[in-house]
């Protein structure tokens, strides 16, 4: 297998785990993220598995960087076979605490990075006549999640892209997948934007909801298996499948969760 894969958000979390899960001898993996050191450590692990790692320390929220990467990459590998878009940045806090600048920052990382992946990498794969595009959204994008509203809304935006794009890609030989993970234990919580609350109160609030967190390795396996089974929409773990199913039909069930979330944050305010 001499295919070329591109993974965004590869320095940590699901992106990193996915790179390790997918790496096979002979493959080229382009690892995209902001932090070079983390990518270089990952690159070593990938090369131990016999694959070729290309470290691409770029900031997806800076316009044009992805196109520059592609132009350069095509000089060494003729095509891009698969693209896994995992880069994202979460947010917690009440909406009235978010400034226009905060919204804009989250918009760049969560929305514009995804649309750049489409306008640069999907277009390339469509021109080749084959490829695979995997977009990672979030369970919160399907169900809503007060106190994480900006992130949640943007993840629903990514689902919106999928809803339309899924009718378009097969014509060009590109397979499109949407990934909807539930709670995954990654550094997304460490690096999230917190406004009027903090990481520990947020982790407590999530724990109170009672949904188990899976590891990013488990998430990566679920994604690989979902793709192997030819699933367009990959939802995991099991409770996420139940919630996405009931979300449109029993909003009152979600309302119970909303209340729990809001109560847990109110509790942490007063303490």
């Amino acid at each position: 297998m001499s295919s070329t894969l591109v993974i965004t958000g590869a320095s940590s979390g699901i992106g990193r785990a996915l790179a390790l899960e997918l790496a096979q001898p002979g493959m080229t993996l382009c690892l995209l993220a902001r932090r070079r050191e983390e990518l270089e450590i990952l690159a070593k692990e990938i090369e131990e598995r016999g694959a070729i790692a290309v470290v691409v320390p770029i900031d997806l929220s800076v316009r044009g960087q992805l196109q520059d990467f592609l132009d350069k990459q095509l000089e060494s590998t003729p095509v891009i076979d698969e693209v896994y878009h995992c880069a994202a940045s979460s947010s917690f806090g009440a909406v009235d605490q978010f400034s226009a600048k905060d919204w804009s920052e989250l918009y760049k990382v969560n929305i514009l990075s995804a649309t750049d992946v489409i306008s640069v990498l999907y277009r390339q794969m469509a021109a080749q006549g084959h490829g695979r595009l995997v977009l990672v959204s979030s369970l919160a994008g399907c169900t809503g999640y007060p106190m994480a509203t900006p992130y949640t809304a943007m993840k629903e935006g990514v689902i919106g892209i999928y809803r339309s794009l899924r009718h378009e890609t097969s014509y060009y030989g590109v397979k499109l997948h949407l990934v909807i993970p539930g709670f995954v234990k990654t550094s997304i919580y460490e690096k999230a934007m917190y406004r009027g609350c903090n990481e520990s109160s947020t982790m407590e609030s999530i724990a109170k909801l009672g949904f188990p967190m899976i590891s990013s390795e488990q998430a990566a396996i679920a994604i690989r298996e979902g793709i192997e089974r030819g699933k367009a929409c990959i939802i995991f773990p099991f409770y996420a499948r139940i919630l996405t199913f009931i979300a449109p039909w029993m909003p009152f069930v979600l309302a119970l969760f909303y209340r729990k979330i809001l109560a847990s944050y109110r509790g942490s305010d007063s303490s």
Binding site: A100, Q128, P146, P150
Partner: protein, 274 residues
């Protein structure tokens, strides 16, 4: 629709309405003004604003919703002069119909800046004021396309799905502060949102002939919206065909596939996959 049902709701209320220069916004501006509201009609297009019927309680504001600083400055002024804002209609929006392979990064961004960041800027400037005042109502205009998906409209559905997600999570938050949030999902409304320059790679007439539902007038749409807003409805979905589509897209999305293929046809004529 019974117009008298909301006539008193808006009397003397301070309303910020974006995208007021055309389409549903224009109809909303006229009807809100008629209902006695103090309407700040915001639009980036001054020609559109000058076409509005002037009166003492309709103030035209030439403002680009993507300019966060200018938006904040404008809202501060309204607060200074009127004390509070009762309604924010996040109505401004643009569309683009094209096969996604023909849409450049800049075209994606141009649309999303208006449809997503325009809404964010409004929320960032107005919502904290409403929380402080412990009253207010935000009306977010999405589209039925957000839930059905719409082949050839990936950027648009991205932005409108964002609005659905935003409304869903913001509503329970805002309720704690006595602020209401409503979602508006219209079907096809006869506005200037579909014009030749908003279509890439296909003929306008051919695209139109493929649209499976009848267009309703902007006035009718505005009437649906205001009736829903006055009843503080969570979701305002219209016309009936849109309610049906909402239902289908959740229960039997495969039934929408023929429509999606139809949308793509005029864009794929004379094109061959490489």
């Amino acid at each position: 629709m019974n117009r008298s049902s909301y006539n008193t709701t808006f009397e003397g209320k301070v309303v910020i309405l974006t995208g007021a220069g055309s389409g549903m916004g224009k109809a909303l501006a006229a009807m809100l003004q008629e209902a006695g509201a103090i309407v700040f009609a915001v639009d980036v297009n001054e020609d559109g604003l000058s076409s509005l019927t002037k009166s003492d309680n309709l103030i035209c504001v030439s403002l680009d919703v993507t300019d966060a600083e200018a938006y904040q400055g404008f809202v501060d002024e309204v607060i200074r002069d009127h004390g509070n804002i009762d309604y924010l209609f996040n109505n401004a929006g643009v569309t683009l119909l094209s096969d996604a392979v023909d849409i450049s990064s800049d075209q994606w961004k141009a649309l999303l800046d208006v449809n997503i960041m325009g809404v964010c800027n409004g929320i960032a400037a107005v919502y904290p004021q409403m929380v402080k005042a412990r009253k207010g109502h935000i009306i977010n205009t999405s589209s039925i396309a957000a839930v059905t998906g719409y082949a050839t409209a990936a950027p648009y559905t991205c932005s409108k799905a964002f609005v659905v997600g935003l409304t869903r999570s913001l509503r329970p938050e805002a309720k704690q502060h006595n602020v209401d949030v409503s979602l508006v999902c219209p079907g096809y409304v006869n506005t200037n949102i579909f014009t030749a320059d908003r279509i890439i790679g296909a003929d306008l007439d051919k695209v139109f002939s493929r649209m499976p539902f009848k267009f309703i007038s902007s006035e009718k749409a505005a009437d649906y919206i205001l009736a829903g807003v006055s009843r503080r409805k969570k979701k305002i979905i219209f016309p009936f065909s849109s309610k049906f589509l909402w239902f289908l897209s959740h229960w039997a999305p495969f039934m929408l596939a023929p429509f999606q293929r139809g949308f793509l046809k005029p864009f794929r004529e004379g094109k061959s996959p490489s």
